[in-house]
């Protein structure tokens, strides 16, 4: 396999036959470097994939073992011997049979033990999933123009860059106040009503102002809070904080339009025309978001919750919904009876994600080495370097 002198190991970058020796050397060096780059990429994918397949073989044989033993303690490692095509389970130890890249063709999630979907369902590289299989909920991310990694899109097209935002706001603003309280109106008129909207098209939610408890469309929240809470600098904000802690939900009462410096989104960010949105519009905002309006809105809000929550299936999520509602949607009624202090806090003990211990440090090289190798199960960012992240790449077997 000795390479000819005019190239390197990859044999892709060839020097011309009449090249001088320095020229040949340069070509060979470049070619070797190219080889190394490809080698490094392949070995990373290989590692992720092979470890995930080995884990799959192990999980399967462990499952068989625990099924085979009639143990009432499911966590204990049963004292039986079981064998599959890919692995052997013997007295609590799992060993491999053959190369997992050959023996095992799919990947199960180390956490939920369901098979991982190996291809995105839409966009680049998409394939149809087998409808008879229940897959792990961690799915390959979707790469499709106009859609996000979950294949979602938004009713009013997300603010692009620069001036687009302005246009977007123009579309939203006329709809926000009173008229048609359908979910579609929450996000603007683009979608043309909930019925015609594809299920993966989301609308912009509303949130409750912690001070006046009004339900404000998220795209106007900063504007609103700026005037409602931060209207005249330090003292006012202190006063505002005071008021909020006292649970004063009567609106800010001062009715004065905020000075343009304070209440409006300021230039540094991308608001196209902050000035335009000052006083008069703020008043309108305040006026339309009154209680009557809020109640009217409640139902549609609930509907939009469902749109947003469509993926929520797990039992744990009960608490999650409650909380999410509070964050994303109008839950005026709940807030009114909430304790006066700490209204912005959302107590949600039920759904707390815990790490058991108190870890501060991450894995070494989470970036290049999934934890699958050492830890078995994965979450968080490490999981991404685990096999499923690279599933679409062919194994380098």
């Amino acid at each position: 396999m000795a390479s000819p002198v005019n190239t390197g190991r990859a044999g892709v970058i060839n020097a011309p036959d009449d090249a001088g020796s320095m020229d040949q050397l340069a070509h060979a060096v470049l070619d070797d470097l190219l080889y190394n780059i490809v080698h490094d990429l392949l070995i990373k994918v290989h590692r992720d994939e092979k470890i995930a397949r080995a884990a799959t073989a192990a999980i399967r044989v462990e499952k068989l073992a625990s099924d085979a033993s009639d143990s009432s303690t499911p966590d204990a490692r049963p004292d039986v011997k079981v064998e599959t095509d890919a692995a052997i389970y013997d007295e609590g130890k799992v060993t491999l049979k053959g190369n997992p890249l050959v023996t095992t063709h799919d990947i199960v999630c180390p956490r939920c033990h369901l098979p991982r979907l190996l291809y995105p369902t839409d966009g680049k590289g998409a394939r149809k999933p087998d409808p008879s299989i229940i897959y792990c909920k961690k799915r390959p991310y979707i790469d499709k123009p106009g859609y996000d990694i979950y294949g979602q899109t938004w009713v009013a097209q997300g603010p692009g860059r620069g001036k687009k935002k302005k246009d977007m706001e123009k579309k939203i603003d006329p709809n926000t106040p009173a008229d048609s309280p359908t979910p579609a109106s929450e996000g603007g008129n683009v979608g043309g009503g909930a019925a015609s909207r594809p299920p993966n098209m989301l609308s912009f939610p509303s949130a409750t102002c912690s001070k006046c408890k009004r339900c404000i469309l998220v795209t106007r929240l900063n504007n609103h809070m700026g005037s409602c809470i931060g209207n005249s600098g330090r003292n006012a904000s202190r006063a505002a904080a005071q008021k909020i802690s006292n649970g004063n939900s009567n609106g800010n009462g001062d009715g004065t339009p905020p000075s343009s410096q304070k209440g409006t989104p300021l230039p540094g960010s991308r608001a196209g025309s902050p000035k335009k949105r000052d006083g008069d519009e703020m008043d309108e905002d305040d006026a339309t978001d009154n209680d009557a309006h809020k109640k009217k809105k409640l139902k549609p809000m609930a509907a939009s919750v469902n749109v947003n929550k469509k993926l929520v299936v797990k039992p744990k999520v009960g608490a999650g919904i409650k909380k999410e509602k509070k964050n994303d949607d109008d839950d005026g009624p709940t807030v009114e009876v909430a304790p006066k202090k700490k209204v912005t806090k959302v107590p949600s003990p039920a759904k707390k994600l815990k790490l058991g211990v108190k870890p501060l440090m991450s894995s070494p090289l989470a970036k290049s080495n999934g934890k699958a190798a050492v830890g078995g199960g994965n979450t968080g960012d490490d999981a991404a370097s685990e096999s499923s992240g690279t599933l679409s790449s062919p194994p380098a077997a």
């Binding site: 396999m1 190369n99 960012d381």
Partner: protein, 519 residues
């Protein structure tokens, strides 16, 4: 993780990692034979693997890249060689096959990565025990996960937490769904993209994530009204525990922000600029206040605090002043949250040198300017008891775990922070991996330079990038964050896959690098 291999000097027996559910015990059947042999073979195999890893990672690469054929021909190659695990041979790929046939040696170590190759399998093999050693060697430079080499270059608080050393392991997490992976957009609440980009970079910062998911700040117990740390806690919960994939409404952060009386807040409100960097500083200080020692993080002095923000972002700078008259040296040490690098002067200089085309800088150019080159100043020398010319040298005494860098793209002319501000669009190239050793006090001392290991312990990996696009007044902030090896772009509520070239091609304003040796 289970078995802690002993040091080579120790006579104790080394062990194979104990079984972990969901993982085979060995990388392949052949490694299994090797490592379930008699204890002597286990000892020697594992010890020898460690030795080879030291050769690969601590010695000059030329050692492992140089091989010898059976005929005695010596070749140094750019591509991988194979180090035999059963004898001292270093072989090229072709020679490896011959060596295996002749000597019956079947296990080899890749000279560039330390990965193990099994010649029976004819494949790379990822053995849990051996792979664990390799990862540790690459990460901390040490086989023991308990200590990190060159501790004096890192902050004490980190040493402390290193001792507790609990890795972020899913086995301990409850409830989180496989779907909840922290990837969600954040709705723009009306010109709040400057907040969103900073929040995303916090959300994908492993140290902050582990702190909040590890119940570092318990919002249930916190009595502070409108506490921003509670709002962060809630946000982390929503990102990592819920299955929601729609955007997040950061209402609590926003109201905490509007209510806060912080100085940064006043700046943010009263100036025209809504600056992501100011918001970063604001949030860092606010979170320090809620979790830290209660002292204000002073600029210009040394502040040692154990809070999560200090542990994550803060490092220390050393400013050395040398009197040009008597040679007397004064050192001052100050803490820093981030490094602010000026672009304007450098770009102008570079533009003069290369008049054609747009001047383009590298991040290292900017760092050189600030932390390698010295400048002159007037200073009152105590020795000379008079005002003297002095040379000032800046260097980084203590490296932070997450290095935040601001590229000063917004310059304000002559004090007025008003309309005179302009945006500097100079292209600044920044690397995915950044070696900070040259900018450290230690790296600038004579003996600091050589060690491979020291170099490796100062390597940072890019974690997130905040980009400002468009004009200074009407522009927009977007960001990129790395999760594992995959990059994502965040444009308010919209999250998309990003390529490395997108990330590296962006007009970065803030850069966050995470130290690699943090294991």
């Amino acid at each position: 993780m289970a078995a802690r291999p002993t040091t080579p000097a120790s006579p104790k027996n080394v062990k194979v990692n104990s079984p972990v559910p969901g993982t085979p015990l060995f990388g392949c059947e052949h490694i299994q034979l090797l490592l379930s042999n008699n204890q002597d073979t286990i000892n020697s195999s594992i010890q020898y693997y460690k030795m080879l890893l030291r050769v690969i990672f601590d010695k000059d690469p030329i050692v492992a890249q140089t091989s010898k054929t059976l005929e005695g021909l010596i070749t140094t190659s750019l591509t991988s060689n194979f180090l035999c695990l059963q004898c001292s041979a270093i072989l090229s790929e072709e020679e490896r096959l011959k060596h295996g046939a002749k000597k019956g040696h079947r296990f080899y170590v890749d000279s560039r990565s330390g990965s193990l190759f099994c010649q029976f399998c004819e494949d790379f093999v990822w053995d849990p025990t051996l792979e664990d050693l390799r990862i540790r060697k690459m990460g901390t430079g040490s086989f023991s996960s308990r200590k990190r080499k060159h501790e004096d270059m890192f902050s004490d608080s980190v040493k402390e937490s290193m001792k507790e050393e609990q890795r972020y392991i899913s086995a301990n997490t409850t409830a989180a769904s496989c779907r909840a992976d922290g990837l969600r957009g954040i709705y723009n609440a009306g010109a709040t993209c400057y907040q969103n980009v900073v929040l995303q970079s916090f959300l994908h910062n492993p140290l902050l994530r582990n702190f909040y998911l590890g119940d570092g700040h318990q919002s249930n117990d916190c009595q502070v009204s409108h506490c921003l740390s509670c709002a962060m806690d809630d946000m982390f919960q929503d990102f990592y525990a819920l299955e929601n994939t729609n955007g997040y409404t950061a209402a609590n952060i926003l109201s905490g922000f509007w209510i806060s009386e912080k100085k940064a807040f006043e700046n943010l409100v009263t100036t025209k600029e809504q600056d992501a960097h100011e918001f970063f500083q604001f949030l860092a200080e606010e979170l320090h206040e809620r979790n830290g020692d209660g002292k204000k993080p002073e600029t210009g002095s040394e502040h040692s605090c154990n809070c999560i923000v200090h542990q994550t972002f803060y490092g220390k700078l050393q400013n050395q002043t040398t009197c040009q008259n008597c040679g007397g040296v004064t050192n001052a040490v100050e803490s820093f949250l981030d490094l602010s690098l000026g672009l304007e002067n450098l770009a102008r200089k570079k533009g003069k040198k290369e008049p054609k085309g747009e001047p383009s800088l590298t991040l290292q150019d900017c760092l050189d300017e600030e932390y390698i080159k010295s400048d002159k100043c007037e200073y009152r020398c105590r020795n000379c008891n008079s005002s003297q010319q002095a040379r000032r040298d800046h260097s980084i005494k203590l490296l932070p775990n997450v290095l935040s860098i601001q590229l000063k793209r917004f310059e304000f002319k002559q004090g007025s922070r008003d309309r005179a501000a302009s945006k500097i669009r100079t292209k600044v190239q920044f690397p995915l991996h950044l070696n900070m050793l040259p900018y450290t006090t230690r790296g600038q001392s004579d003996n600091g330079r050589e060690s491979q290991e020291l170099n490796r312990s100062c390597v940072y990996d890019l974690l997130s990038v905040v980009e400002h696009v468009g004009e200074i007044d009407t522009g927009h902030y977007v960001s990129y964050c790395r999760v594992g090896d995959q990059w994502f772009s965040f444009n308010d509520h919209r999250v998309e896959l990003a390529k490395k070239s997108d990330v590296l091609g962006s007009q970065a304003y803030l850069l966050f690098y995470m130290i690699r040796s943090l294991a």
